[in-house]
């Protein structure tokens, strides 16, 4: 079912205003197919009617949650956000190392908040492992992955992935850090696993959030979208408090922090944003 340009723009703006994810024209067909799946469930044949349901229907609030799940499902993979990785390698990691060296603290703490099945946290681990002999020689590295779902945490801890998860990864990393256990099934290397600790955490639980202290990098991609504006603001405030003064906060590639928090400063880099205190 084809979506018209005007309906695409209406739904794109609605989604952006609701959750802060911006669908660029280039991803129109992706959004179209995900919307179509939800419309089928709802027995609707017109994008305009679906928009009305989201906006004014009694089922609107329930449906938007379902739509967001549809939009973000299967979106995670290793080395997903290439521009963010490039910025880390080229600029932010060397800067962090420089700053921490000055204060004599050779330890990096990274938090993948809403880590899902672990691809993002393990990606960080591999990138840092590659710098073990150079930039991060003799450094202590701690990567924490948290999620509310025990099911995805179990997957993360197991560390077995399919073809889809490794699709974005270079041959170099796949060969070096994965073992194909059965056809199309890849086990991550123990040295990568060792760097990451996965645990269960509800981002809305204040009493536990206050203990997630002193991170150099916090990354929270496509997670805030599930929360309403006050909840988002509260969670981001926790990130702000838990970040080192020189630390960095990242969202997903198409996500925006606009109107969520005005304390963070936005650092622009080629293809993305980082947020700093």
């Amino acid at each position: 079912m084809k979506i018209s340009d005007s309906n695409f723009e209406i739904l794109r703006d609605f989604i952006y205003n609701f959750c802060g994810i911006y669908f660029q024209t280039g991803r129109k067909y992706f959004l179209e197919s995900r919307l179509a799946r939800r419309m089928e469930v709802r027995g609707l044949k017109d994008y305009g009617d679906y928009y009305k349901l989201l906006r004014n229907g009694a089922e609107g609030p329930v449906e938007i949650k379902q739509l967001l799940i549809e939009i973000t499902t299967n979106e995670t993979c290793f080395f997903r956000n290439t521009q963010q990785i490039a910025a880390l390698e080229r600029q932010f990691l060397p800067e962090l190392v420089e700053t921490k060296k000055k204060i004599g603290f050779k330890k990096l703490r990274i938090w993948s908040a809403g880590s899902s099945s672990g691809e993002e946290a393990y990606t960080f681990a591999m990138i840092l492992l590659e710098k073990r002999a150079t930039l991060l020689k003799d450094w202590i590295i701690e990567i924490v992955g948290t999620d509310i779902s025990d099911k995805v945490l179990a997957q993360a801890k197991e560390g077995i992935y399919n073809n889809y998860s490794v699709r974005n990864m270079s041959e170099f990393y796949r060969k070096k850090y994965f073992k194909e256990v059965t056809a199309g099934s890849f086990a991550i290397a123990p040295e990568v696993k060792k760097l990451v600790n996965f645990s269960s955490l509800n981002l809305f639980e204040d009493s536990r959030m206050v203990f997630m202290k002193s991170f150099d990098i916090i990354i929270c991609s496509n997670v805030l979208i599930y929360f309403d504006a006050p909840a988002k603001a509260k969670i981001v405030q926790h990130y702000y408090n838990n970040l080192q003064p020189y630390g960095l906060f990242f969202l997903g590639q198409s996500e925006s922090l606009h109107s969520v928090n005005d304390k963070f400063k936005t650092i622009h880099f080629p293809g993305g944003f980082a947020y700093k205190k």
């Binding site: 024209t25 600029q91 060397p94 109107s259 293809g271 700093k276």
Partner: protein
């Protein structure tokens, strides 16, 4: 950036300009158009006649008029209609743009000259958008100044290819900009080189101001608002894929940028803009800009 003083930078730039034997020149047609437009009682037909003596320029004027930037209701097919649509004030600017494109045509230098124009037209288009948002009265001027701001860069790439190649290699994989690399290697930058060329070509003063100060808008002497607009557009394009194919690394915090400060003073509403969304929308324009540049270069 620690810079040698202005006089020294200019001296070096002037020397580098004189070293070039076949210095690019602005086409004869452009000179004649400019002179004609300076006459008080000029007729549109006369201008059209002069431009038509240069078929490439004539077809480019038509292409630019039909581009997303000016997009008329119906496609304009004749030069005369294009000139009527543009009006006298814009004819000079469009003719100038076409001339500069022609000046560096076929001189690929260190990198494809099209990469250069993609960045330049990107900066032109974004300058126009910012100009509209901050209510700068002459949006077309912002557009043209955006297009010509890096003229010194294309000069370096084509006329001092050996040095420029070294600069590109020097900043590769680092966090440095072209200007920083140039200053280190040459003691001057594309800003001063561009200014020397602009003066040679008798560019208007505000163009010179933009070309010279687009990395330091606080040093603008003639039109600080215009320079700030182009500076900001340049920064945005450099982080949103209109960036000389990633050859230089640009990273910035808007709150610390002088241009942001300058524009907020002129237009307080500007600071409430959703900058992230602005960037996402800019990403969408990239394809359009690339297509436009391709169109302009098609023979």
């Amino acid at each position: 950036m620690n810079r040698p003083n202005k006089a020294m930078r200019m001296q070096k730039a002037e020397k580098m300009i004189t070293q070039v034997i076949n210095l690019p020149t602005i086409p004869e047609t452009m000179m004649r158009v400019t002179h004609l437009l300076d006459e008080p009682d000029v007729e549109l037909d006369e201008v059209a006649e002069v431009i038509l003596t240069d078929q490439v320029m004539a077809s480019r004027v038509i292409k630019i008029v039909n581009s997303p930037m000016f997009r008329p209701m119906h496609e304009i097919k004749s030069l005369k209609r294009a000139l009527i649509y543009l009006g006298f004030r814009r004819i000079r600017e469009i003719a100038l743009t076409c001339s500069i494109i022609k000046t560096f045509e076929g001189q690929d230098g260190v990198f494809d000259v099209r990469t250069f124009w993609e960045h330049s037209f990107g900066v032109g288009i974004v300058s126009k958008i910012i100009a509209q948002r901050v209510r700068y009265p002459e949006t077309e001027k912002a557009y043209i100044c955006g297009i010509v701001h890096d003229i010194g860069e294309v000069f370096l790439s084509t006329c001092h290819a050996e040095e420029f190649r070294k600069i590109v290699a020097l900043i590769k994989d680092t966090c440095h900009s072209f200007a920083e690399g140039e200053l280190f290697m040459l003691g001057t930058t594309h800003c001063e080189l561009g200014l020397c060329l602009a003066k040679k070509w008798n560019f208007p003063l505000e163009y010179c101001d933009v070309i010279e100060n687009h990395h330091f808008p606080q040093e603008a002497t003639f039109d600080p608002m215009l320079v700030a607009i182009v500076n900001l557009a340049d920064l945005f394009c450099s982080v949103r894929n209109l960036d000389y194919d990633n050859r230089e690394w640009v990273s910035f915090n808007l709150a610390e940028e002088k241009s942001w400060e300058i524009l907020r003073k002129f237009s307080p509403d500007f600071s409430t803009m959703d900058v992230e969304r602005f960037c996402f929308e800019l990403d969408e324009k990239v394809v359009e800009i690339e297509e436009m540049v391709r169109g302009i270069f098609e023979k």
